[in-house]
């Protein structure tokens, strides 16, 4: 067996599998650091995954699809912000609303536009050789080789982790985002435009989550499947909490989960003897069990931003 190949392929798989989750988690990190819970990640990813494919379908170019996805993400973010920031509405309700709408409306569009409730036609996508980011000379180096032929969105997800870390902890915007997430009234008294900052954070977060949807339908796959994103948004939410609301933490959490997935595939595949007799369900449940295990064992109690999820109403200060 070709070990280098196996290692690199598995690692690549891990990154590919982690990307959507990571995007979702990062979207959540930004939004919740500003004090706005966004459980609509799942729904936003679904919208973006679909409209991304739609854009690529009409234009034959995944970048157009990506633009559409980002646009829809921004719109949904604005929608969430309008309800939760402008009108200080319940953030959970708003998030659930987006999720429910996403499930129903996208199925509706799928049927309306593509005459199917199954999945869209195949379209030009970032995973195809034409759009891959090729670094051929590292191809056969163990571990490094995994990065030889990744699609652009994986790279974006990785770079974004550090960009967001920088924004949150080294820029004025980041300081203000965290301040309104910790103690909005205090920020208000210092002249920070609390509502504006929240608007920015929520929309930014939604756009990032949207990229997660794109990386699913135009990165990993080349079409929209009605089951998308099949819970990855919620896993992203979990990864965000697991990662203690920090970009780096979210990345580690996503990688842990994705690794467990890949490991599970491999174990299942090479299972011999008694291992082969272990029901598939246990293999498939493994990543989720490991996650809980990690929480209990290593991570422990996570502390959310102090004002996370608390609607900010000026008068009731």
């Amino acid at each position: 067996m070709n070990w280098t190949y196996l290692i690199n392929e598995s690692l690549k798989q891990m990154l590919d599998f982690a990307a959507p989750i990571l995007f979702a988690a990062l979207g959540g990190v930004i939004s919740e650091n500003s004090g706005v819970v966004n459980i609509a990640l799942e729904g936003i990813m679904r919208f973006a995954a679909f409209f991304g494919v739609w854009g690529a379908f009409n234009s034959g170019n995944p970048w157009v699809g990506l633009l559409w996805g980002v646009l829809i993400g921004a719109l949904l973010g604005a929608f969430h912000a309008y309800i939760t920031v402008k009108w200080a509405g319940d953030q959970i309700v708003s998030g659930v609303a987006i999720n429910v709408i996403a499930t129903a409306m996208i199925t509706y569009f799928l049927e309306w536009i593509f005459k199917t409730t199954g999945y869209s036609p195949t379209v030009a996508y970032f995973g195809s050789s034409k759009y891959l980011v090729n670094i051929n000379f590292i191809e056969n180096i163990p571990v490094l080789g995994a990065f030889a032929h990744l699609h652009i969105l994986i790279w974006i997800s990785l770079i974004l982790v550090f960009v967001l870390h920088f924004i949150l902890y080294h820029t004025v915007l980041g300081l203000r985002i965290r301040s309104v997430g910790e103690y909005p009234l205090a920020a208000e008294t210092l002249g920070v435009d609390v509502l504006k900052v929240k608007w920015i954070a929520v929309i930014l977060g939604s756009i990032i989550a949207a990229l997660g949807g794109i990386s699913l339908s135009l990165g990993t796959m080349s079409s929209f499947t009605n089951s998308m994103p099949s819970g990855k948004g919620f896993i992203g939410l979990a990864a965000m909490i697991f990662g203690k609301w920090t970009p780096i933490g979210a990345m580690l959490a996503s990688f842990l989960f994705a690794s467990a997935q890949v490991l599970q595939f491999l174990l299942q595949a090479i299972a011999k003897g008694i291992a082969a007799k272990i029901p598939v369900g246990f293999y498939l449940a493994l990543p989720y069990i490991l996650t809980i295990g990690a929480l209990v064992g290593v991570v422990g109690k996570a502390v959310a931003p102090a004002a996370d999820g608390v609607p900010y109403k000026k008068e009731e200060s």
Partner: protein, 506 residues
């Protein structure tokens, strides 16, 4: 020349008329004090001036010009700064981050230049002789220092009009003196200062003019030189107030509370209380004096079971408690009056009736076999509202809509009516007006007469000297002084509190 004036300000909240046609005019360079009962509308007025609330009607004038203040931003631009009753500090941020937030030094327009910020804060604190460690996290600072941060915040924004809403409520005498020095310096720098306090002595010391508010109206404005504490108190409350505490002697009974070699680490794992030994006997008031942040919080949390002692024992009514959990100490006969009404004392969204049974709610007649008895609760609540003169007499009003003083009364009504032999009173009069304070003292003495053992934690030396039978001074988590009001005086206590003097019997 007039620096700031409010004309016919009206502000109505769902349940109250907080500001009822308020008009004030403040001269440049003066220290203008506002006193008034809890709920009189002082903070509301200040919040309106600072742009946190919008008035229903009325105008604000700054330096003679009509100002329209919709945001704190507008107030800041008009060089108004405010130190709020509840600190506006972000615990997880450093001193520097807290001070520069909203007007941060930048690189390339968007990068937060933290180094530069730290430098500015250092300069600032040197200039005004307000010493702080710019890189320390605020959550690790004692309130005294936290307040300096608050003041630095507004000074950095070049405020000309500085509002202090009950700045001394959380300060020790020394810290208060510090603050006053600062205020005088600012006054010399020709800055205008609005100073709100319930401590008339302070007002008499620092203010030039004093406004008295009552039920949302301005009762009157007087020159300091033309009034005295008694008169002010009467204007505020509308009756004569007994400001000095009259002592009562009682028979001391058996030991109701005892700690032995109590050693406690705080959340950050630092030893905050070392080998404390003391007891409280029935009918006795033991006061713990000390600068805030010297272990009082940890002592309370250990007694309540929020912190597990690393060493030593706590005994309440003879029950030694190894692993105390907050929910069962109550059944051991402890009552607790907290300074932190909003977080620990009350469930703000619950109505008065629900708050007033909290802790006894599992008991007959409020509940029977787990089922609540609403009529019994209503009947009981109405009785207690009367007995403790809680206003308004609204059993169904949410706790958050009562004013500070009445919130405290609800807590008193609940705690003092519950089955207990030992009372833990932690700064029971913090932020209370003279009337309410008098009220609290009256009840503490009642308790003492009833033979309840009381552990009183206080920053108010007058309170300590007035109420206590024994005084323990806490410094850096150690008991550095054991004395009685007769054997000591405020100066000596002050020295001990600052760790400059030790006085431990036996």
């Amino acid at each position: 020349m007039e620096a700031l004036s409010a004309k016919n300000i009206v502000k109505r909240f769902p349940n109250v008329l907080a500001n009822d046609n308020v008009s004030l005019s403040i001269e440049k360079g003066e220290i203008f004090a506002i006193v008034g009962e809890n709920g009189a509308g002082k903070s509301t007025l200040m919040k309106i001036i600072y742009g946190l609330y919008l008035p229903d009607s009325g105008e604000i004038y700054v330096n003679g010009e009509k100002a329209n203040i919709k945001h704190s931003r507008d107030a800041i631009n008009l060089k108004i700064g405010m130190v709020h009753q509840e600190f506006m500090l972000i615990p997880r941020f450093t001193v520097t981050e807290n001070i520069v937030l909203g007007d941060e030094p930048r690189k390339f327009g968007f990068v937060f230049d933290y180094k530069q910020a730290v430098k500015e804060v250092e300069e600032l604190s040197n200039r005004f002789a307000l010493v702080v460690d710019p890189t320390e996290k605020v959550e690790n600072l004692p309130v005294g220092i936290q307040q300096r941060v608050e003041i630095l915040k507004i000074l950095r924004r070049g405020a000309e009009i500085l509002i202090f809403d009950e700045p001394t409520a959380v300060l020790t005498p020394e810290e208060t003196e510090e603050l006053f020095k600062t205020l005088r310096k600012l006054k010399e720098a020709n800055k205008t200062i609005i100073f709100i306090s319930h401590k008339l002595s302070e007002v008499m010391e620092i203010a030039d003019r004093i406004a008295v508010m009552r039920r949302g109206r301005v009762q009157g404005i007087v020159k300091k030189t033309e009034t005295n504490e008694k008169e002010l108190a009467k204007m505020m409350v509308g009756r004569d107030v007994v400001l000095e505490i009259q002592k009562v002697k009682t028979e001391l009974g058996e030991v109701v509370f005892k700690v032995e070699d109590l050693t406690v680490k705080n959340q950050r794992g630092v030893v905050a209380l070392k080998d404390c030994i003391f007891d409280v006997r029935a009918g006795e008031i033991v006061a713990i004096a000390g600068v805030e942040g010297n272990g009082q919080a940890e002592l309370v949390n250990a007694i309540l079971g929020f912190l597990r002692p690393v060493k030593g024992t706590i005994t309440i009514n003879g029950n030694e408690m190894k692993f105390i959990t907050p929910y069962d100490i109550r059944r051991k006969g402890l009552a607790y009056i907290t300074e932190d009404r909003k977080r620990r004392g009350l469930i703000l969204q619950y109505r008065a009736r629900e708050n007033i049974i909290l802790g006894n709610h599992t008991l007959y007649p409020f509940s029977n076999k787990g089922i609540l008895n609403d009529n019994a609760i209503d009947e009981y609540t109405t009785r207690k509202l009367e007995e403790f003169d809680i206003r308004p007499r609204e059993a169904y009003m949410k706790a958050q809509n009562f004013s500070g003083g009445n919130q405290q009364k609800i807590i008193l009504a609940r705690e003092l009516s519950s089955e207990h032999k030992f009372l833990l009173a932690s700064q029971p009069t913090r932020g209370l007006d003279v009337g309410a304070t008098e009220f609290v003292y009256k009840w503490l003495i009642e308790e003492k007469k009833k033979g309840i053992g009381i552990l009183l934690i206080s920053l108010e030396l007058s309170e300590v000297m007035g109420l206590a039978d024994r005084i323990l001074v806490l410094y850096k988590g150690e008991i550095v002084g054991v004395t009685t009001p007769e054997e000591t005086n405020e100066e000596e206590l002050g020295l001990m509190m600052l760790g400059l003097k030790r006085k431990v019997a036996q």
